[in-house]
Symmetry: C2
Subunit: 352 residues, 2 copies
């Protein structure tokens, strides 16, 4: 229904055999420039477009990639997808989009479908939890590259492109330290954000700032969990005198939640408490105060992932299984120096 003109017809019009047409279309080596011109003219005249299905079937290369992505409402995923689409276009690939849950059976099903379509490779933007599963299911058949959303203590059979989350944690700590904070707290996804926390913690320690266990609260990367965690951190009656002057949330959505929680408690940000996130999603710029955050360079992340995958597809084994991109600080308005006089500050903070 969609396809009409075939190579045969082009060949007939051009007065050549139809393999010659194929050669022209694929830029295959040597042939008289004259015949090439004749063929191209015929192609243009007939409006011939190759049928990519047929080509894929014959050549075993479809120029398509599966894009497996965690169906989370975190805008970070979307912003990554946009960059991946750009990168894929650049390299001549089309993307099959598949949103997936963390359910293993579902994963398997999606992967099988992708394989049935002869994708040349797979990009997996999923939580670290499912990495091993995915790898197991498909590595023998088709190259996979994992992208950016997990920490980097992966098995070395896995190809992954990620951000240097330890460095990100360090950046956050340095920023807070530079401002003079000494009572800081962390909101994090305990199971998966270890490196972000480690970088943060180590930097504090190196500067003789202590991070008590009670000042590390878990969340699940969602806005709601960030909100709840911050409430706990800021509201806990007993701890009032020791209320943190700054909170580092290991992703922006939780940071947004923390910001909202502070505001909901009647606190002023950053006067009463500073908040810094990690991701660099657009959302941060929309909040008031706008969110200071450590940004992951999504464009280079996507580009690196594509490059890696393309090389794997071409059979060039990589030396290094893991690539990291460097994060950077985006300075906005949710961080400042800590309250000068903590006691006085506390009194003012109780407006609500």
């Amino acid at each position: 229904m969609a396809q009409r003109v075939t190579q045969r017809e082009v060949a007939k019009l051009a007065g050549v055999s139809y393999q010659t047409v194929s050669n022209v279309m694929n830029g295959n080596a040597g042939m008289k420039d004259e015949t090439r011109q004749v063929v191209l003219a015929a192609v243009k005249k007939l409006g011939y477009k190759p049928n990519l299905l047929a080509r894929g079937l014959a050549s075993q290369r479809t120029q398509t990639l599966g894009l497996l992505i965690h169906n989370d409402t975190n805008p970070f995923y979307n912003e990554i997808v946009i960059e991946l689409d750009k990168a894929a276009k650049l390299h001549g690939y089309h993307l099959y989009l598949i949103y997936t849950s963390t359910n293993f059976a579902e994963h398997q099903d999606h992967l099988e479908r992708l394989l049935m379509r002869d994708v040349d490779g797979i990009l997996a933007v999923t939580g670290s939890s499912s990495m091993a599963e995915i790898q197991t299911v498909i590595s023998q058949n088709v190259p996979v590259v994992f992208i950016g959303l997990f920490e980097y203590d992966t098995k070395d059979t896995v190809f992954s492109v990620s951000a240097d989350f330890r460095a990100a944690g360090e950046l956050a700590a340095h920023h807070l330290l530079a401002l003079g904070h000494e009572r800081v707290a962390v909101i994090t996804e305990l199971e998966y954000h270890q490196y972000r926390v480690a970088g943060f913690k180590d930097t504090l320690k190196a500067n003789s700032v202590n991070l008590p266990k009670a000042m590390i609260v878990g969340g699940d990367s969602s806005f709601a969990s960030g909100h709840a965690a911050a409430l706990q951190l800021l509201q806990e009656p007993i701890k009032k005198s020791a209320r943190p002057s700054a909170i580092f949330a290991t992703n922006d959505l939780m940071a947004a939640g923390a910001l909202a929680a502070a505001l909901d408690l009647g606190l002023e940000v950053p006067r009463d408490v500073s908040v810094i996130g990690l991701d660099g999603i657009q959302l941060g710029a929309y909040l008031r105060p706008a969110l200071t955050t450590v940004a992951v360079p999504k464009d280079t992340l996507a580009e690196m992932a594509m490059k890696t995958l393309v090389q794997l597809i071409r059979g060039k084994t990589q030396e290094s299984a893991i690539a990291l991109t460097k994060p950077h600080l985006i300075l906005r308005n949710s961080t400042s120096r800590p309250p000068k006089d903590a006691k006085a500050q506390l009194a003012k903070g109780e407006i609500k």
Copy 2:
């Protein structure tokens, strides 16, 4: 590289001809239940998975759809894509994802690529501007359904599924009127959001509330444009006495911008000015105050779009070319009754 087992091998193992295998796989009519079982056993034993490329080539149905989507940073698009992916899965389709600009040549290129892959249909989540172009390029070859992002004064050769934006505008107006607002303003994308504005305006008029031209400011649906427009509306020195007590932004991103602008001016929302948006993106819940908005039901929108497209693919011509979903109000904290005493209020509003 990816595919191994073929129908032939299954047939050999099962001791039948390989077309029988094909029949079993496609659930084609009658055959001894016994042979079916034998075949299925062989399939399972060999781990046979059909090659969808070959099937598509032979059957002229690929069970794939092109998803053309405007590459805008508006989260609304992403939230729609997630719903469309769900709907597609439900109907057994895979989605080719393509982000596209508003550039015509680029559009054409993407569309041709999609056609080369023999997609069964196309979902276009693009601004109304490109609708006609797309339609022209492809309507003869493959069914297209346009989704939700433009107003509904389309040509009737076009199949579109959209929200009832007039009703959305009406809802916004009713909410503001019910709260007692009489001095309201609108921030809108002038060229494309006419129906939202019309519904809003007409409802005001029916309730004897005037909407002067100066109270309608244009934007481009972005946060920045909403911010700028609100600044103009709230700051304009001369108009201070006539400052709007409520702002209706015709999408959430502009509403977020308006909210931020009010806050940046030192105003309190909703005490000094109410803000209401339209879309229902998650972002609204993250803001402080949380954004009251008129939500477009993205899930039903997506489901309707898929249903329409599937029917078109099956050759069942629709009676109606346009389907609309009903929006609803999400009440949060950015709207309230207008300031009791406008004069006194104004004085307080000048904090900054």
